[in-house]
């Protein structure tokens, strides 16, 4: 039985807690939570602590707090030479306090509050400073998922930036599509099969080869019609810059 302590009570912490609670191999030793209420329904209240002094040593400390707080939180852990990891895609491993054996445990998924996720399908990107810690971290990650990756801090940064494009920005394009439909009182439902097909298509085909549409075909007549049709300057600008980008790099 491995003893894990989680520091944090936000979205990622909550999803990790519920995932670890389902396993037999992991014991959640303690959870440090500034706000007890966030997790009081998930875990025994005697395991929830609010004072760093009450922390016990553990096989692994997982810091799941906002990026800005990782360094200060890691320095508050009142032990030396513990394996301490953060869960952030955007932060390098060295943000952790030097007194620890440092690591990163980055589940690459967009977690939504109160929406259960199947951790088995979530890639977990791992980084440590030495092999022994890597084996332990990998062992723990593999209890949750089949997909573990050894990813250094620079690579993780590129994943984090890339995720903004394929997740945040893609979702915003869905929003714009929805708005264009609403203006003409068209049910956005009609576009949902296309949205799914677009995502599923690139599971097997390189996105560059999957590209279709007026920009790829250099169909200036359709492009002009679309630009005329769009109502806001913002939509027109996004249409133009992405059309140009497809034509120059597609």
């Amino acid at each position: 039985m491995l003893n894990i302590t989680i520091i944090g009570s936000g979205n990622v912490a909550q999803h990790l807690i519920s995932a670890f609670l389902k396993t037999k191999e992991i014991n959640i030793l303690q959870v440090f939570a500034r706000n007890k209420n966030n997790i009081s329904q998930q875990i025994d209240s005697n395991k929830i602590i609010t004072d760093y002094k009450d922390l016990q040593t553990a096989d692994l400390f997982i810091i799941a707090v906002s990026d800005n707080a990782i360094n200060i939180v890691s320095s508050q852990i009142p032990f030396d030479n513990q394996l301490v990891v953060h869960t952030s895609g955007g932060m390098a491993i060295d943000v952790l306090d030097d007194k620890h054996r440092k690591g990163v445990f980055y589940p690459l998924q967009s977690f939504t509050k109160n929406k259960a996720v199947d951790f088995k399908t979530i890639p977990i990107c791992l980084e440590t400073q030495n092999d022994l810690d890597y084996y332990l971290l990998e062992k723990i990650a593999q209890i949750l998922t089949n997909k573990t990756y050894n990813i250094n801090s620079l690579q993780r940064k590129s994943l984090h930036v890339s995720a903004v494009f394929v997740n945040n920005f893609v979702n915003h394009l869905y929003q714009i599509g929805n708005e264009i439909c609403q203006e003409s009182q068209v049910d956005f439902e009609i576009l949902k099969p296309l949205i799914l097909e677009t995502a599923h298509k690139i599971m097997a085909i390189n996105p560059k080869n999957a590209q279709t549409g007026p920009a790829t075909r250099n169909d200036t007549q359709v492009i002009e019609q679309h630009l005329d049709f769009l109502k806001t300057e913002n939509q027109k600008n996004i249409y133009k810059i992405l059309t140009q980008s497809i034509q120059q790099n597609g």
Copy 2:
């Protein structure tokens, strides 16, 4: 048994032919193809014609050719008062020659050559000039799919523009994500579960409510780091304009 004649031998025509061939209720009477080879493996060669003079009357003519050719092709059909539809999202119903009973049969999906599609999941947007023709067109569409919609030309245009955002532009963002990963020698596979989750999430949640990420959080520190990290002006510009758009409209 309903007799349908298809004019065209491109991507959409091929997918329609193979879908209709699987049904018992539809007989493909003839296919007009400038290039016989495109469809010679799909259908008996004696049904393929290359001269408009050889066309017979049918219950429905489906014109599946490029937008620019729809008008001239429809004028070449040597009959009056036939039900003639086109399959284009971008063209109004009135592009068809006035001698016909006009209609539109627009399957809203991105068809890839040689990639089979399940028509049952594809929305088909229908438009006619009178109710009787609508009932016939709807009956035919319902043989292929459970999802038929009565969509006028203006609404279809908004679907067509919206589809560029949620399909073509989204796919281009996948491509950029892939390129960012390649630069750091990171396997794009790692992002695929996130891509699927992003698409599946909005099946149940409005995209505006599903939005996450540094732009939504107004996390200027992360946004600056990402802009520093990006290598090309094109990537930086797209990042900036979509971040602003999320912040102003998210």
